[in-house]
Amino acid sequence: MSDEKPDPRSSRRRFMALAGLGLAACQGGPEGPVADGGPRRLGGTISPYSERSKYETSARFMPAVKTPEEASSRTPLHEAQGAITPASLHFERHHSGIPDIDPADHELLVHGLIDRPTVFTMKDLKRLPSVSVTRFIECSGNGSTEWKLPSAPTAQLSHGLASCSEWTGVPLRLVLEELGMKPEARWIIAEGADACRMARSLPLEKVMDDALLAYAQNGEALRPAQGYPLRLLSPGWEGNVNVKWLHILKLTDQPYMTRDETSKYTDLMADGKARQFTFLMDAKSLITSPSGGQTLDDLGFVEIRGLAWSGRGLIERVEVSIDDGETWADAELEGPRHPKAFTRFKLPWNWDGSAATLISRATDETGYVQPSVDELTAVRGLQSNYHNNSQKSWTIGADGSVSNV
């Protein structure tokens, strides 16, 4: 009976062998003799968790510091291949090291001005209705090298304290409405379970709008460096209020004036007064290619590529200048666009071999236009350090080298 039927596997095998020959003939390569059709070695096996190709080397920038537990690493934005940052390359800013937390032991305490103070396990939180959103996180110190003179040689060093991911978790609004807020509640203090128990105060209005208790990033559990097993996501607001390793939320009638919201992430103006609770990250854009440290090897077609984002919502427009701001052209925005997320932009260009200065400027859905650094410093002086969202230029020499001038 069985030998009356053609074996489907044998015919499939023949087809695959033919297809394989064709592929080898096209690709060549050290493992596959091409012209003589000889035998080929097998490739790698399936595996439980993928590593990237050994030929790829893109990496976070690691500063040489005495205390790497209290430091930041920077995303290689100059090598970004899309709007999403791989979790493995997401920038880091830690204050007392990355804690090792067993999710089975991790609890979130929600207390203070709330009707039903509650302890949640991670299992509890994962049972609640969930959402996934694509949002950037950016340290408010991103771009701080560029206030006085353009000084960081690459886009990674000037702007690498920003990354973008898809985050999954529970809307904090849902949890707070479940537990019943007292009418006098105005602020929420979020604390992490790292060694320094870093804490920040957030207006309740913000967390009721769009904060997320996030337990996943880009389709898998958060990485330890990103707050495993739970972080607060405060979309569009400075990185420091996206508290990692979140374990306590306390509702209060006032901000608690923690160190990071008084002596640290406040913006000193020229008159000696400092702006406080400067949470929002304003619209920003960055040409990632060609950018500082890269080289144009060939005359002719160049796709100018970059990223734009705004803490106020969607990116509506990105303009690019190739003549140091004399004239501007609209770049193509790549969809789908998400509010408070990286949006890719692209502009085809024909490089004729002469020197050129490239600049981009973003406009968000509120009509806010990314300012020049002169416009920002005219208002804020040179000591505010944080929230430099000014336009960034790169200069291309006649030899094709790209630098930050």
Partner: protein, 173 residues
């Protein structure tokens, strides 16, 4: 019959679970909160019993703070502590406890939660009060033998208390 079983199952869950719609979480006990909550409000709410003086704090500073912050709060690898609000203008503003920090409670809260860097949480309540007193004394804000505690600490008005303004953005162009 099915409805009855379902209803009783929901009711028995409700007894254990806190959230009325989704029936997850457990009621936080007073002990849960007392064990975990270390937050200190600027009005002093949350400050524990205990006290310390600058004279006591100087001894602790020598052994646990000086290595990173320099002798007598002058600064080394890490920030110094001494200054006045008038030093916040110019090309190299001096942002310190004395010149910049608006609340003394913040100093207590931060040292208690985050210092010493290599062993945060190591200091006792009395020791935190004493180190805070020492840093304030270096800035001539308290006397060497003034006792800092839950009553006296929040009563201190730091020199730069009124140095902060709200965020006016969008501000440029």
């Amino acid at each position: 019959m099915y409805k009855v079983i379902l209803l009783s199952a929901v009711c028995s869950f409700s007894l254990l679970a806190q959230s009325p719609t989704y029936h997850v979480g457990r009621a936080a006990t007073a002990d849960d909160i007392a064990r975990r909550d270390i937050s200190i409000a600027p009005d002093g709410k949350g400050l524990p019993v205990g006290e310390g003086t600058a004279a006591e704090g100087a001894v602790i500073y020598e052994s646990r703070c000086r290595e990173c912050h320099g002798p007598e709060g002058e600064g080394a690898d890490e920030a110094g502590f001494i200054g006045k609000p008038s030093e916040l203008v110019g090309d190299s503003p001096n942002k310190t406890v004395g010149s910049y920090w608006p609340y003394a409670t913040t100093l207590w809260d931060y040292i208690n939660r985050a210092m010493p860097f290599d062993r945060p949480g190591e200091l006792s309540e009395d020791q935190v009060y004493a180190v805070v007193a020492y840093l304030l004394h270096l800035n001539r804000i308290v006397g060497e033998n003034d006792k800092l505690n839950a009553e006296t600490l929040p009563a201190i008005k730091m020199p730069n208390r009124d140095g902060f303004i709200s965020d006016p953005r969008p501000d440029a162009p």
